[in-house]
Amino acid sequence: MSQILLVAELADGHVRKSTHSAIAFAKAANLPFSILVLGANASAAGKELEAFGAQKILAAEDASLEHPLAERYAPTIAAVAAAFDIVAITASSFGKDLAPRVAAKLNAGYAPDISGVTNNGGKLSYKRPTYAGNAYAHVEITTPKQVVSVRQSEFLAAEPSGGNTPVENVAVAPADAAAARIAFVSLEAAKSERPDLGEARVIVSGGRALKEKFAEVLDPLAQLLGAAVGASRAACDAGYAPPELQVGQTGRVVAPALYFAIGISGAIQHLAGMKGSKTIVAINKDPEAPIFQVADYGLVQDLFTAVPELIAELKK
C-alpha cells in the first residue's frame, strides 16, 4: 500500500494549523502517513503532532533550517521521500514555494492546490479548481512518485485521534548548491491580534469602498466577532489593507462559517477565494453588484452607516 509523507509547516517554532489540513488529506486518501518536520527546533514542534495517528514523526533539526528556504528544505524532503510514494504539503505560500522544487527532484508529477482525493483501489485521483473555480479538473499523476499540495479551505483540519507517535530524528541533507546564492534577510510578520484567515470561523472583508477608513470601520466589527480581516485586491493595491489580507484566486482562499463582503463588488477573482464560505453576507450600495449573486444575505446600503449600525445591533 502507498505511504504518504506529509511536510509540516511551522511558524515561530510551532506547528501551523495548516498542517492539520494535510493530515486530513492523508485520512481522506485512506492511506498510512508519516510527518516530516523541518526547522531549527523541529523535534519539539514534532511532539505537537504525536496524537494524530502518524506512523512516524521525523524531525530534521538544524540551525540551517531556521527559515523555510526551498533551496535548503527541498533536499531533505526529497531524501526522506525516497521511502514514500506520495509527498503532501499544504497549499499555503510555504507549500506552494516548496512543493514544485521537491517534485522536480523526485522526477514526480505535481498536483497543486487539490480540493479532493479519491482512492480507487490504490489508484489516486485528485480534484483541483481551475479557471477561477469555474471548472474542477480531475487529474491523475502518471509518475511512480507523486507530490500534491492541499487546499486548506477544503480539507478541514484533522483533530487529534489519540496515540503518541514518538519523534525520530532524520539526517539533514546537504543544501542545494543554489543555497549559496540566496540569503534570508528578514521576516516582516504582520502584527495582528486577529486570527489567521485560514483558521477563522468568521471573516470580515472590505473592498475599495472603505478607502482610508478600512481599519477604522472594519476592526471594531472583527473585534466584536472574533473575526479575521480580509480584503479585496483593490483595497490591498491601494494600500488600504496590507497585501497578506487579500482574499481571492491569487490571494488567500478561505471558507469560513460566516463571510462578510463589505464594499466589495464581487469580481470573479474575489469570488474564487471565498465562494466556499458557508454563509455569505454582502453589504454594497449597488443593488446590481455581482457579489449579491453569491450572497445568502444582502444589504443594499451605504457601508459607512450600515457597519456601525450592525455593531450596535450585535451588542444588544
Binding site: 505560500s93 522544487r101 492546490d113 485521483s125 484567515l197 497578506e244 484566486q249 444575505y297 450592525l310
Partner: protein, 270 residues
Amino acid sequence: LVPLKRVSDPDNANKIKINGGKVETTGLEWKPNPFDEYAVETALRLTENGAAPKTRLGEVLVVSFGPKEVETTLRAALATGADRAIRVDATDDQLDGDLVARALKALVEREKPDLILIGKQQVEGDSNQVGQLLAEYLGWPQATFAGSIKSEDDKSLLVHREIDGGSMVVRVTLPAVVSVDLRIVAPNSVQSKHSPAHKYADGVRFAALMAIMAAKKKPLVEVKLAELAPDTALKIKVTSYEAPPARKAGVKLKTVAELVNKLKTEARVL
C-alpha cells in the same frame, strides 16, 4: 527571459462551458496571462537606463509555448518594449507545467539569461509551479511571489516575497528565478541604481502605435518543442472537468436588524 502564456479572458472565466467533461472557452477572447504582463513590465523597469532613457541596459527576451496564434501575444510584448521573442510550437494539450519547465531549461542553457522573471501563476490552471520547477532543473535559487525587487549592484536582488501573514525579504545572487506577484507593478516596486527619475504609473505600460508598428520588425523565431525536450511525456493527466456546485443567490434584506436576526435564527452562525 520572461515566459508568456496566453489565457482565455480571465475576467469572464465564469462564462466557460463544460461539455462532456471538457472545458469550452468558445467566445472568450485570448488575453496575456496578467502575471506575465507584470513580469514583462518588471523586466522593462529593471533594464531601464535612467541616464540615457532611449537605450536599455539589458535585453528582454519573451518566450511562449503555443500554436501560431500566440505570436499575437508575443508581438504585443515586443510592442511594449521587449527585444526578442521565441515561440515554442505546441498545443496546450501537449503541455503540462513540468514539460514547460524542462523545455525552458534547455532554452535557458542556449540563451544564458541572467534573470528569469516569471508570473507566479497562470490564471487558467492556477498551478503556481513553473518558476519553482525551472529553478530546480537549472540548480538556480528561487525567489517566489515577489511584491518588490531592488537591484542592488546588477549582481544581486533584494526581493520582498509576499507570503501568508506578512512578507519575507531575501537576497538572491544572479542568475536566479524570480516569480512575480500582483504588487510588483505598483509605482515604486522595482528599483535599481539605473531607475529613471520619474515615477511609474500603477500597472503595466501600454504600447504606442509607433511601437506596435516597429514590433512587427523585431525578431520572433519558432523552435520545436522536441528540440528542447526530447521526452515529451506528461506527468499529469486530466481525466475530466466538472462544473462546480452552483451557489444560489440569497435574499436582500431591508434592515440591519433583519440581518442579525437571520444570522442568529436561520443561518445560526452567530
